[in-house]
């Protein structure tokens, strides 16, 4: 790296004076107090990572109990009441406490500032508040299990009128509402923070169309959070008022409209699907490009596909409500089907990125390929469900359960890929590849064995959310296979925990173990307190690659016809 074409950009001297070169440990508290008082986005992000992975494990344990109950038709492992609590809290923990916080709290929080060459998030204290709101929200929601009536048991969607104070009188339901309000505010604050960071803290030369795809997706996710989450917050306050203050917003008796809750919930809930998915799309895109030794295929197409998905996602909420009979079926069907177009562009771009690449089948790459395959299955069955005539027959059956589990298990695959890919950058140490590949195969095969029988069960008419089912040989056989798949997924999670324990501070990573492309791989692993001592010139969407491979530099986006100036100002 001595024969440079461009000298690296030095940060302004002010940074050096304030924070100096005394490495990450500046003069603050250490130990537990450092974790409690920090505003460093990397440490907050690490807290988020650990908390959300614990939530993944808790939600996974709920799932294993549910599958054990369903392995036999008249399962007696848990009671009907406990079963309702379990599937409610399984969904709530996985959606509210794992997938979202893991994406925009953990990985985005750590990676977005580094990817755009910023020293920290725009509002570091707000960032800390986000984490503590998330943690308290998670504890609040889960503490329902320790109340007399048990945890919330109305499903993760809390449909009216089942969720009113007559039908669900327990404290667990109130704790669920409170916990969700807290984590909702946490998400909103993170959304504000990400928007401000990406718009205002980009390094010199980092134009919008030179941002890594992950950062782009996080920007769009943050905007979606700001549009969607306040609606949920309002809805939850209405629900709480209905339960305790005698309002009748969702109850027929007082002139309210129960279906209004579904509108409010899904107006948040469908954008939420993309709030969960887009960050993981971004992770997979980065991984596929790095391990194919190629730039992202169709970079701008990828960005516009993301923007299109986000725009369409605000107009499709009622496809969750086809069978209520009060929504305009053709409109919501067409809008939902249209989402397949930008999503298809993404799938083809992922294939295009790998096409004729020099593919390195690391664990992260396997996870990303597993993501594309599993997501394709989930996406294609989503097209079935967007068609009202088919949806009427499969609504609230295991077909729907299988569809969204294909999608979210694809996201889990991408999340694991993200941990294997960025873990070395965050901790400074690699994970064991052999155990990682074992984990991948258990996770990938387990996912398919878990979901495929559920598609068949759904088409055969098995409803979701039932603790016992009629004794039918075929249903039992299919449910057994599904349970077997769930066990494989559980084993894969154990492999992950074992891998973290085995690889603990064992394999030092170095700055750039994957020969990657984006800015986070230019700094040290783990990065110093304010992320960078120096920056490479940013001339394309992969500055680190350009710096390390001057003979194979990318053509700068937006600068094909322009003379490239040194130290050009940030746009």
């Amino acid at each position: 790296m001595t024969d440079l074409l461009d000298p690296p950009v030095q940060l302004p001297p002010a940074h050096e004076v304030v924070h100096g070169h005394d490495h990450d440990e500046h003069h603050g508290p250490t130990g537990i107090l450092k974790w409690l008082t920090t505003t460093d986005h990397k440490i907050i992000g690490l807290s988020y990572t650990v908390t959300s992975v614990i939530m993944l494990i808790i939600g996974g344990i709920f799932a294993e109990i549910i599958r054990a109950q369903l392995a036999t038709p008249n399962g007696t492992l848990v009671s009907l009441a406990q079963y309702n609590e379990l599937f409610t809290m399984h969904g709530s923990v996985m959606i509210y406490l794992f997938a979202g916080p893991f994406a925009f709290g953990a990985l985005a929080n750590i990676m977005v500032p580094i990817q755009i060459g910023a020293p920290d998030m725009a509002y570091p204290r707000l960032n800390a508040l986000s984490y503590w709101l998330y943690l308290t929200g998670a504890i609040t929601m889960l503490s329902g299990f320790f109340t007399a009536g048990g945890a919330a048991n109305f499903g993760w969607v809390a449909y009216a009128p089942l969720s009113n104070s007559v039908n669900t009188p327990g404290t667990g339901a109130d704790l669920w509402i409170g916990g969700l309000l807290l984590t909702g505010f946490s998400a909103i604050f993170t959304g504000v923070n990400l928007c401000a960071t990406i718009f205002y803290l980009r390094a010199p030369g980092m134009t919008m169309f030179r941002m890594p795809i992950f950062t782009w997706n996080m920007l769009v996710t943050a905007i979606l959070i700001l549009l969607a989450f306040p609606v949920l917050t309002a809805g939850l306050i209405m629900l709480y008022c209905d339960r305790h203050f005698g309002t009748h917003i969702f109850s027929v008796q007082g002139g309210g409209v129960p279906v209004l809750w579904q509108h409010i919930f899904w107006f948040w809930g469908h954008p939420e699907v993309y709030i969960l998915a887009l960050p993981f799309f971004g992770m997979a895109t980065e991984i596929l490009a790095v391990f194919s030794r190629k730039p992202v295929f169709g970079y701008k197409g990828m960005v516009f596909a993301t923007l299109t998905i986000a725009a369409l996602s605000l107009g499709v909420w009622a496809h969750h409500m086809f069978t209520t009979g009060v929504v305009l079926l053709p409109f919501f069907s067409i809008m939902s089907l249209l989402i397949a177009v930008p999503t298809g562009i993404k799938i083809f771009n992922w294939i295009g990125t790998m096409w004729r690449g020099e593919i390195w089948f690391s664990t992260a790459m396997l996870m990303a390929i597993g993501f594309v395959v599993t997501f394709l299955i989930g996406g294609l069955t989503g097209i079935y469900l967007a068609s009202p005539p088919l949806d009427f027959f499969t609504h609230d059956t295991y077909f729907v359960v299988a569809h969204f589990h294909s999608v979210v298990m694809a996201l889990v695959l991408a999340a694991m890929g993200g941990l294997y890919y960025w873990g070395p950058k965050i901790t400074g140490y690699m994970l064991n590849e052999r155990i990682g590949k074992l984990q991948f195969w258990f996770l990938f095969i387990g996912t398919q064995v878990f979901t495929f029988p559920q598609y068949a069960l759904g088409l055969d008419g098995m409803p979701r959310r039932i603790a016992v089912y009629p004794h039918d040989p075929q249903w039992k056989w299919l449910n057994d296979w599904s349970t077997f798949g769930a066990i494989l997924i559980g084993i894969s999670t154990i492999f992950f925990i074992v891998n973290v324990a085995v690889s603990w501070k064992k394999y030092p990573a170095g700055d750039n173990p994957w020969d990657a492309q984006t800015l986070e791989w230019f700094t040290t692993s783990p990065p110093p307190h304010h992320n960078f001592y120096r920056l490479p010139p940013i001339r394309s969407e992969r500055p680190t690659w350009d710096y390390n491979h001057p003979e194979h530099r990318s053509v700068a986006h937006g600068a094909e016809h322009a003379v490239v100036h040194e130290n050009e100002p940030a746009s």
Binding site: D396, A467, P470
Partner: protein, 84 residues
């Protein structure tokens, strides 16, 4: 609350129905069977049903045409085909 739905049967046989919207604690047990029979079988059944000379019951039974529901939970080992 009153809920109703229409069921068009094309063939005779035993049909299985189940609540699909989570409705509370006993959601999993909210199921029913519908027996679809020929007109003559129905008349014969109505006769036995009508035997105790209970006018009210007979009237109620006559109102329902082919859609007689019985809340019999399928027993273990029953080979009823569901969802068909």
């Amino acid at each position: 609350m009153r809920n109703e739905f229409t069921f068009y049967a094309e063939n005779t046989g035993t049909y299985f129905g189940q609540c699909t919207q989570l409705c509370g604690l006993y959601h999993a047990l909210m199921w029913f069977r519908v027996k679809v029979v020929t007109q003559s079988q129905y008349a014969a059944w109505l006769k036995t049903f009508n035997n105790p000379a209970d006018e009210a019951a007979a009237k109620a039974a006559a109102k329902t045409t082919y859609e007689q529901t019985s809340a019999i939970v399928p027993a273990k080992g029953s080979t009823t085909k569901f969802g068909r």
